[in-house]
């Protein structure tokens, strides 16, 4: 646990991991003894290689899995004490490839959760229009389309709109831009930054892309083999002496060197 995570007032915490861990039924530990705090309105990036436990940590937040040790608190309440459905309505969820329902139009995909939550029809309709505009898709063109009629970038935008549908204070994103080609990724990412500037959600994002972590994260939680190596601001991360963090930073500097022709 880094000093950065401790130095802020606890009252702002919206998500808190307290020695949380997760073990598969066969005893294999995917995540062990993780403690960190996510402040309201910040974007915390979980950075690490495949199998580091990033996704598991994310899934502990919306109770897709329950911790086998320690606890996770959302709004000061243990996830185990939350009704899973109620909790998930507070927590938008965006995954790689978006996971859109292939048999539903864009409109039905986005309106599903408001509908389940019993919103009035008129409110749902305006909400869907607003959300599409927010993520930069023209409602007149996209409302009636099916996911297979969209490009990867458009699907991912719909995925973000769907996750924001009932205006949850927290947004979880699991490699949201991972399946996109580099140029589309930069585009969608920039749009996402704009959305975040407008909405000020609390975001926890999983990525294995260092530059993405530095670009989007207000803080970076570095994970390795089920352990939390530390939580850093982007500046701290670049200058950290922690070997894993240093390896990431080193990798990045090599790229910069390549750009400068060295």
């Amino acid at each position: 646990m880094s000093d950065a995570a401790n130095s802020r007032p606890i009252s702002e915490a919206i998500i808190e991991f307290r020695g949380a861990g997760y073990r598969l039924p066969d005893g294999q530990a995917l995540l062990s003894n993780i403690s960190f705090v996510v402040q309201r309105g910040e974007t915390l990036v979980l950075l690490g290689r495949s199998g580091a436990g990033k996704t598991t940590a994310l899934r502990l937040i919306n109770r897709l899995v329950d911790p086998t040790e320690g606890e996770v608190l959302i709004d000061g309440r243990r996830t185990l004490d939350w009704d899973p459905v109620e909790l998930r309505r507070q927590v938008g969820y965006v995954i790689q490839e978006a996971g859109l329902f292939p048999h539903y139009t864009v409109e039905k995909n986005i309106s599903l959760v408001p509908r389940l939550a019993g919103w009035p029809e008129l409110q749902i309709r305006t909400r869907v229009q607003d959300l599409l505009q927010l993520v930069g898709l023209d409602p007149a063109i996209f409302l009636r389309r099916y996911p297979h009629e969209l490009s990867g970038g458009q699907r991912q935008r719909v995925g973000v709109a769907r996750a924001l549908a009932v205006n949850p204070p927290i947004l979880l994103m699991d490699e949201p831009f991972g399946a996109l080609d580099p140029l589309t990724r930069a585009e969608v990412r920039a749009e996402f930054q704009e959305v975040q500037r407008q909405l000020q959600k609390t975001i926890v994002m999983v990525t294995h892309d260092t530059s993405e972590a530095l670009l989007l994260g207000s803080r970076i939680a570095l994970m390795e083999a089920g352990d939390l190596k530390g939580v850093y601001s982007p500046q701290e991360f670049l200058h950290s002496k922690e070997p894993v963090a240093a390896a990431y930073a080193d990798q990045l500097r090599k790229l910069e060197g390549f750009e400068r022709g060295q």
Binding site: G99, L100, H103, L116, H148
Partner: protein, 211 residues
């Protein structure tokens, strides 16, 4: 007397037998879908129950149809009426393709879609009815189609226990060594099977989820 004359002379009997046949098959399919689809869902959701359920349906499939009718004959209530007995036996045969295709269809739903649905706060029941079943409907229908064609064929055996249907002509024709009589049962049965196959194929294609 040629076949056409024979058919036109006995048209009302053939129609009667065809309707009986359709009733046996229709009742069987309703029952088999009502039992098979829920069992398929159980197989998909509770892997530990998949072996006993699929195993039992498999065993039922291997019993020769005439023998199965014989086994069921002494069963109280079931053995009392020929159509009851036949529909029960036919249902046992029809179950396997329906159970298997339902389970396959649900298992084939993209895990990312299911994960997203759970993450959005859909309940298990909502996921089943709004995501899993709609996405596997064409696979389930393919199972129903196979089962229907199978049942139309096996239902001709029903005549052996007096349940009527197109098998009547076939059994009588065999006994009297009369090919025209056999064909009077076999041709309408084949037409029924082809018709059901075509109709269900069209439905299957219409309901196939876009991808």
């Amino acid at each position: 007397m040629n076949l056409t004359q024979f058919f036109s002379q006995h048209s009302s009997e053939i129609l009667q037998a065809t309707l009986e046949h359709m009733w046996l098959v229709g009742a069987t399919m309703l029952l088999a879908v009502a039992i098979g689809v829920p069992l398929g869902i159980v197989v998909a959701r509770r892997p530990w129950l998949s072996k006993p359920i699929l195993g039992s349906a498999n065993i039922a499939e291997t019993i020769p149809s005439l023998a199965l009718l014989g086994f069921l004959l002494p069963v109280p209530w079931l053995g009392d009426r020929a159509d009851r007995l036949t529909i029960t036996a036919l249902t046992l045969y029809a179950l396997l393709p329906i159970i298997r295709n339902t389970a396959t269809g649900i298992a084939g739903v993209d895990p990312a879609v299911r994960e997203a649905a759970r993450g959005m706060g859909m309940t298990s029941r909502q996921i089943l009815f709004q995501v899993e079943l709609p996405l596997s409907i064409s696979t389930i229908l393919a199972g129903v189609r196979v089962a229907t064609v199978l049942t139309i064929g096996i239902a001709t055996i029903a005549a052996a226990v007096g349940a009527g249907g197109l098998g009547e002509f076939i059994f009588r024709g065999l006994a009297m060594v009369n090919n025209q009589l056999i064909l009077a049962g076999a041709i309408p049965a084949a037409i029924l099977a082809l018709g059901a196959d075509a109709a269900l194929s069209v439905m299957e294609r219409a309901l196939r989820p876009v991808r």
